[in-house]
């Protein structure tokens, strides 16, 4: 057992993979290189010293160069330790966010059940059953997102690529969201290239399109009534899909709260939730965009965005066109 543990600790390749750093940056590997370098160069210097006793400058220069190389390696080691610490920090943050996001609906469920069991919901029983359903769905979505993330990371995601019409898929998604759009008083404009066919997994792309539209609605709906009136702009979302080179490009533009400059680089990271988002609501898994981008990239496309705080965001993705 212990032997296995030691073996695992010595397996630098495996460890580097685990922490997501290249092998040459692994501290143990670097220490090994440094140790070997010191041993060999000491021998070399000794040999050199014996031969060139008359010329100490050469020996001194050799030592100087050696010191510099060692210093450089030491600085790389330091940086790799920092990266290891960062990986550990992210891991603990992951655990704490997951537990918080899973616990919220769980404690909701528990307290509703407490109330129902105690017979104290007499008048509002029906409403509480509705809340039970709502919270279990929320819990289910969170678990589904987590499973998708782990499948994406381990490459175990089942993908069935085929040729399909992006136009029809987008229309279908839009239809599903019609009631929400109406309730949030948002106008949606859809401009699609006719007969646009793409090659990907339609179920997954549907997930991506739904996620982007859902985000757009959520954050457009959050703009204050006063601001809508002041700017004279209506709450609006525009969807455009066109052919661009060998790919189809889908764009969705909203007039929502936008993304603050300092949050932009984290937007596609797992569990990241923009300060602007949290200011408006604290729920949400922080996994949606990470999953969307991973799906699109696996399909051979790309995803990006342009955004201005308080003005709105524009998210886009590309996927390969169908060959037929």
């Amino acid at each position: 057992m212990d032997f296995r543990r030691i073996q695992a600790e010595l397996n630098i390749v495996e460890q580097a993979k685990k922490y997501g750093i290249p092998v040459w940056q692994h501290p143990q590997f670097l220490f090994l290189v440094m140790g070997l370098l010191i041993a060999f160069s000491s021998l070399f210097m000794y040999a050199l010293g014996v031969r060139l006793v008359s010329d100490p400058q050469v020996v001194a220069l050799g030592i100087l160069i050696l010191t510099m190389v060692l210093l450089a390696i030491a600085s790389v080691i330091e940086r790799s330790f920092e990266r290891l610490a960062e990986a550990a920090r992210l891991k603990s943050e992951f655990v704490s966010i997951v537990s918080h996001q899973l616990r919220a609906p769980l404690s909701n469920l528990k307290w509703i059940a407490d109330l129902l069991v105690a017979g104290k919901a007499a008048k509002n029983q029906k409403e509480y059953y509705g809340l039970l359903k709502e919270n279990s769905t929320r819990m289910q979505n969170m678990v589904n997102d987590l499973l998708t993330v782990s499948r994406l990371q381990e490459g175990g995601m089942l993908t069935q690529e085929k040729s399909f019409s992006l136009e029809e898929l987008v229309d279908g998604v839009v239809k599903n969201f019609a009631p929400v759009l109406k309730a949030s008083n948002i106008t949606l404009k859809v401009q699609q290239e006719k007969g646009l066919k793409v090659f990907a997994d339609p179920v997954q792309i549907r997930h991506v399109v739904s996620n982007l539209l859902d985000n757009a609605i959520k954050y457009t709906g959050k703009t204050k009534e006063a601001m809508v009136k002041k700017s004279g702009k209506k709450r609006a979302i525009t969807i455009i899909s066109v052919v661009e080179g060998k790919k189809a490009k889908f764009t969705i533009k909203d007039t929502g709260v936008g993304i603050p400059q300092q949050d932009k680089k984290y937007i596609f990271q797992k569990f990241f939730r923009s300060a602007n988002v949290i200011r408006h609501e604290t729920q949400g898994s922080g996994l949606g965009l990470y999953i969307a981008k991973s799906i699109v990239e696996r399909a051979g496309g790309n995803m990006g965005f342009v955004s201005k705080e308080d003005k709105g965001s524009m998210f886009w993705f590309t996927i390969p066109l169908s060959a037929t």
Binding site: S96, S99, H100, R103, A104, L106, S107, N108, K110, W111, I112, D114, L115, A118, K120, A121, N124, E127, Y128, L131, E134, N135, I278, R279, H280, E281, T282, Q283
Partner: protein, 132 residues
């Protein structure tokens, strides 16, 4: 007249919680126990209502939109008229540093939601009123 006096003697509880489900379950059970309940769905409204309504007790979540529970606590403790109101922190954060921070900021009790039954929370509320 009798009705009027009962209203006056009713203890007022402010619930600052962004989960509408919890807001509702807690609100329902506390009203059934005979408390008057006021609700805020975010931190900003929470601070405002604490000042306007002068509740006898605040149930405070920590992860909140607009202003965190910590900030709410800080603002309540720094204002003369809300300084003395007991605050029960009701959250899912259970890191030692969070508990310490909330206690330092003046939280009366710290409860981790998922570790408590609804009835136990009601008991805690009663205890606070019993001791004050």
């Amino acid at each position: 007249m009798v009705y009027h006096t009962t209203i006056c003697n009713m203890k007022k509880i402010l619930i600052v919680e962004d989960e509408s489900t919890l807001q509702k379950t807690l609100g329902d059970i506390l009203s059934q126990e005979g408390y008057k309940v006021v609700s805020a769905l975010d931190g900003e409204v929470g601070v405002r209502l604490a000042k306007e309504q002068k509740p006898d007790l605040v149930l405070l979540d920590l992860v909140l939109p607009k202003m965190t529970g910590f900030e709410v606590l800080e603002q309540m403790r720094s204002a003369e008229d809300t300084k003395g109101i007991p605050v029960i922190v009701l959250t899912n954060l259970e890191k030692m540093e969070d508990i310490q921070r909330a206690t330092e900021l003046g939280a009366t009790t710290y409860l981790v939601k998922s570790n408590y039954e609804l009835q136990e929370v009601v008991e805690k509320v009663k205890t606070v009123f019993g001791n004050s």
